[in-house]
Symmetry: C2
Subunit: 764 residues, 2 copies
């Protein structure tokens, strides 16, 4: 049992463990004493990424490889009455065709990988493997399918109606009822309010739109299954493959050094991975399956469309008394992933200090592709709407929106009833307002065509789970080191910051440490997969612990050479010296070369988060927009995104993350507008001309990243989440700025010119 | 200091350490209790090797890769007066040409990788890199070179004459004088002898003749150098590259999973590796250089030709009183590798109990490609001749050759004055004689055209050096394990027997353990390179130690589940149980699945050999031949090769090793006959039609492998050398059998039809 202490917040007392418990003998890092951590270091893999040297799964072409193509359902719901693959199989060059009839591999308790009944448009009906891509396409066209079209429902609100086709035994609400969170007494809270405000908002579908399309290349050799795969984590994919293929873990190898974008859509595996495995087994050949851009839009999943109802109660002095929130999200036909449909209430529960909160989540089954976590899932949908509501409430009580947020800012985690390991929330609002040059918004000139407005939003991201992470650090006789890390390089810079952490702990310069990653074989679980903005805070402490184990061995070697005790010796920048007499020093390699071929192998693992605390990342976003009242176009002029993400390991890559994350928010708020066939539930504008992503020209002069560095107490490196928080702040900051520009709210995202013009018409 | 004990041999007392010192807490392996070690298990990589699935360096084709071709000296000794590469460089598709003029990279203290003066035919003069192999060849033909031809000497005995061109400041004998070993007083020994016998023998050049030609593919990326290389050890090659390129170890990566034969010729690196590195750097492109078969014969080095003089003294009762041995070998022009020229005296010093021994080794510089260790280097040349001498001495005193050997067999290591960790020498002679059906040879029918004879030879191989070896064993939650081993798969089955050792120690079935190897990145030094028959005895204990570390952790987990103490628990074949009550058992995975993502990581290293002992492998060879007195052809009818190689980890792969090794000896004894240009020192019969290797049809009905298993005390697995010993016994067993068939000795290897006929003419 770790030693405990008490802290008091808001008159409440919390019992928490002392930090020593997670340091396990390591010293606390003091920012002023760090040599590598905290430095602006360019991403080590950057040059490879931009010159095309980096090898992605998409680049893998194996000898004797077959190409696979998928025949997909054109219907939202249908039973396959008859399927005839004989013509396809007879085509020269075709090596295998699988359908639900010849392939019985289970996907989960609910369905096989190929099924007699398809429940969403785009669902796989058959897969062809052939000697060339074009042969596979030709063969696909030769498959004859007769469908019995079944009743389907696309819109989630319609799916909740009693007459809707029932997709699950319990009905269309996942689990048969909404998931409800209750704190205090929301009715009592509304009774105490001076002002009550109710609103409906919607948030939009968003595509992950990865540069690298979904796909993999797979091969069986001597009963071993190897997959080159584009994913967010080799170990998670490996474990799921082992589980679903019924193989021992060591018989499955997943290789993925670089991923061309994932954003949640490449976490784990899809049924298509098992289809490729089946075809590779059936044909005895390596098989390659990659989607094209159309398929990617149709079936690679997405951020779900949500409908959200809010009711807020507030006293005249701005004190929140009650919050009611109902979220309806589209869950797709299957139970898998259904919980990602209407996740958007966690922020309602946590971001503001409020005694009475009720949140109801309706994950609604429909005949549409299932949702999948998409950069800041839930948080984006929640903050995009909650933070419009807060602006509306602030206006109703006549308060400055920043002041309103500061007044109501949560002081501790009200759901877990625990203090935070660090909390820079209010400081972020204050720092951001200052950086942005915030003043209370006032209406723009009434007669101008182009109107400017400013808006703000809180930023919040639920904490890092306390998961296991492990690493290995090998030190060579010339005092260079190798970090074995079980991660994929998904483009977030993990391969850079983990090397920084290892180098810092080892007392070596950055360039003396190499990282080996991207292969499930020979690496420990440093991270099962990169999602939830977890990489730094989960993997970092694991890497530090492994490096520390190596450091202990280094200190012993160096101490022997310096005729001192290990505890009297320090290592810094490749030099070992006696702390009390730094002139007594040697290059570290003088100590290490004596190891010969017995390399120093350090292993370490992340201890669980410090007991008694919750971990959340905070921030604030500020935006200025210009609205063209004739065309309806909204132009983002500038933004400030402020973050408390704990210690910033690498300010340069952190800024990139903030800018990238914020732009995702800009896309969801202003640009990305999926057109869905209302009957067939299929994405229609499946290209980048019609489904527009923001480009560099669309995001204003500057998205300024500002960090309020706190020292997160719950882990040994002091870091928190960073990748996803910026996305959550962009939407409402922009929506609020649009409102302050034109004086009328657009409550349905994305805020397209059409919706702006429609709102202006309503106002007029 | 390890605890000591005493052993007595031949009235002498030796102080030795107790075995506990090298067991480091591990139990002694008892053969009867082993489940995986000692079992006949097929090589796990065999199917890949024979189906073409295995990937060799030769199979590596990288995107944007250039092809390199080497222009070689036609002269044995010459100065480049002028070299003009302009026409070659102007050829479309040529990307770079290097010569001694634009490339100053050092090879060693004696020379650069490219030099103004070339000292052997085939030495590199220029290297071209071009977009295709044919372009590179065309460009090579366009390089204009003007040579000043310098005096050269090819024959080593001629090189020792005073008028020979002097290749080194100290003359042509390496180091300026022979290397001499002296024990007792050889003159006194001869004085005591009743019979003195003197003879001159020669042994032949032998090509390694690897199936996979020498070569590599190299690439620079962001200052990191990666080489796909055909070699006998990734770590040795990596270390040498780092050293010679002046790079940190972590900036060099050597990849080599499968090697298509090495036999000593692929240990470490050659100058061509650095030429490829230079060209890859110069062109900014990956570069591929592989020799063709002609080049392979000319420059990939070989077993040196030796001239050997012996004088043996023996009493009438067969007791050896004195041995004098002079070896002259060709060293090539450079100091590098010179010591491999005339290594063949170690067996003279050690194999027989003899108080008075003198051996003189003349490593003689000449303008011929340098020697390189070739399967059982030294030992082959030594035993091939020493064991003819022993047969001749036995005949002189009228003793059976087996009895003569048994009588004089060494009882301890007379050079080191130490006992052996195990000694099955005499037992091998006895077992072999029995297996073979040995009886004292008597002359065949005088009038038969085809005459049969039998012969025997002792087998001896100097011990494994006591080197460092390290391994890592990872155990997954489903109780499958991964062995990280820094070895290359050179075809000897190491990847199989190391898995056996790990599985045995972990208490897992063979199929639950996977090995990761063939990449210097991410693996420890399990072996720097596979030479000297060291793999099992060096790497095995390192692997066992790592597995034992993992086992300790497994026992702790299992004990907790079984409510017992770790020392009360046993693990066997994937099951953990209480030793005293085996019904209290669980599948091991029940214990391991609780580790989640914190894998069990075991690390371990080989302790130095047990103090006080020497390690040598023993054996005996028996052969029956049929000589066609008309054609001179010698046909091997059958053979028995008996070995004391300590514990046999895998009898099946061990038999393969014995058969393969013996066939090498057959090649050197009967077939492989290099034709050397006596003036230019260049190999002329550079193809497998004219330079004949024995095929399956040439080696008789059966080469029977027999093992006399001893438990070698100096390491934790009880194993000794095996790969090379069989080669040493084949030559003299055959030569002696030829003698007993035809009644006249052929003392120059290979025993070709021409030499047999010549001997028969002499006899007649």
């Amino acid at each position: 049992m770790a030693e405990q202490t008490e802290i008091r917040i808001d008159g409440k007392t919390f019992k928490v463990a002392k930090r020593e418990a997670i340091l396990e003998g390591m010293p606390e890092w003091k920012s002023s004493e760090l040599n590598v951590v905290g430095k602006r270091i360019a991403r080590t893999m950057g040059p490879d990424n931009v010159t095309g040297r980096a090898k992605y799964a998409y680049d893998v072409y194996l000898q004797g490889m077959l190409y696979a193509k998928v025949l997909r359902s054109p219907h939202a719901h249908a039973r396959i009455k008859k399927i005839d693959t004989s013509k396809a199989e007879a085509l020269p060059g075709v090596r295998g065709v699988i359908t639900y009839q010849n392939t019985k591999r289970k996907w989960d308790d609910e369905r096989n990988i190929l099924n007699e009944t398809v429940k969403m448009a785009g669902e796989e009906v058959a897969v062809v493997a052939a000697e060339s891509e074009t042969t596979a396409e030709d063969a696909r066209a030769l498959i004859e399918v007769e469908y019995e079209v079944l009743p389907a429902v696309v819109d989630p609100e319609k799916a909740m109606q009693p007459n809707a086709p029932k997709l699950q035994p319990y009905g269309n609400v996942f689990g048969g009822k909404p998931q409800v969170y209750n704190r205090g007494d929301v009715e009592k809270g509304f009774a105490e309010a001076d002002i009550i405000h109710e609103q409906r908002y919607t948030t939009a579908y968003q595509q992950h739109a990865c540069m690298e399309l979904h796909g993999c290349v797979a091969q069986w050799e001597r009963g071993q299954f190897t997959m080159w795969d584009t994913n967010q984590g080799i170990h998670l994919s490996k474990d799921l493959l082992a589980l679903k293929l019924g193989l021992p873990i060591t018989k499955v190898r997943v290789i993925n050094e670089h991923t061309g974008g994932g954003f949640g859509s490449k976490t784990g595996i899809y049924p298509y991975h098992l289809m490729v495995a089946e075809l590779a087994k059936k044909t005895g050949r390596p098989v390659r399956l990659f989607m094209d851009r159309n398929e990617e839009f149709v079936v690679a999943m997405n951020r779900p469309y949500t409908v959200q109802y809010y009711k807020g109660g507030v006293k005249r002095d701005g004190t929140l008394t009650a919050l009611y929130h109902r979220v309806i999200g589209q869950a797709g036909p299957y139970k898998e992933n259904a919980i990602w449909a209407a996740r958007a209430s966690e922020d309602t529960e946590e971001v503001y200090h409020c005694a009475n909160v009720r949140a109801e989540k309706y994950h609604v089954h429909n005949n549409v592709q299932a949702p999948r976590p998409c950069r800041a899932p839930g948080g984006t949908e929640n903050m995009f709407t909650l933070e419009q509501l807060m602006d509306e409430l602030a206006e109703k009580v006549g308060m400055d929106p920043v002041e309103f947020r500061k007044k109501n800012a949560a002081r501790y985690d009200q759901v877990a009833n625990k203090p935070w390991g660090s909390n820079g929330y209010v400081q972020c609002l204050e720092t951001g307002a200052k950086e942005f040059g915030w003043k209370t918004p006032s209406p723009g000139k009434p007669d101008a065509r182009k109107k400017r407005g400013i808006g703000c939003s809180s930023v919040f991201w639920h904490g890092n789970q306390s998961e296991q992470s492990q690493a290995v650090v090998i030190v060579h006789p010339d005092a260079t080191a190798e970090l074995l890390a079980g991660i994929s390089g998904i483009g977030v810079g993990a391969e850079t910051i983990l090397v920084q952490i290892a180098a810092e702990e080892l007392g070596l310069p950055m360039e003396s440490v190499r990282i080996t990653y991207g292969d499930s074989q020979g690496t420990p679980y440093t991270l099962n997969a990169a999602y939830g903005s977890r990489t730094t805070a989960l993997s970092g402490p694991g890497v530090r612990a492994a490096a520390h184990d190596a450091r202990r061995q280094l200190l012993k070697l160096a101490a022997a050479r310096l005729r001192a005790k290990p505890e009297e010796v320090e290592i810094r920048e490749g030099k070992a010296f006696v702390k009390a007499d730094p002139k007594r020093s040697i290059p570290l390699r003088e100590a290490t070369r004596r190891i010969g071929r017995e390399l120093i192998i350090g292993t370490g693992k992340r201890p669980p988060n410090l007991d008694g605390y919750e971990v959340d990342a905070f921030g604030a976003a500020f935006a200025e927009v210009e609205v063209d009242t004739v065309t309806g176009e909204v132009k983002l002029l500038r933004a400030v995104s402020v973050h408390d993400s704990g210690r910033i390991i690498n300010p340069r890559t952190a800024e990139n993350q903030v800018q990238g994350g914020f732009i995702w928010g800009v896309g969801a708020a202003l640009f990305e507008d999926r057109v869905l066939d209302p009957h067939r539930g299929i994405h229609l504008n499946t290209n980048f001309n019609e489904y527009r992503l923001p480009t560099a020209l669309d995001v204003g002069d500057e998205i300024k990243a500002v960090f309020v560095e706190t020292d997160e107490i719950t882990n040994s490196i002091g870091a928190k989440a960073l990748g996803e928080p910026p996305t959550t702040g962009a939407g409402a900051a922009i929506a609020n700025a649009v409102y302050h520009a034109i004086g009328i709210r657009v409550r349905n995202y994305p805020i397209t010119p059409a919706r702006v013009l429609e709102a202006l018409r309503r106002k007029a």
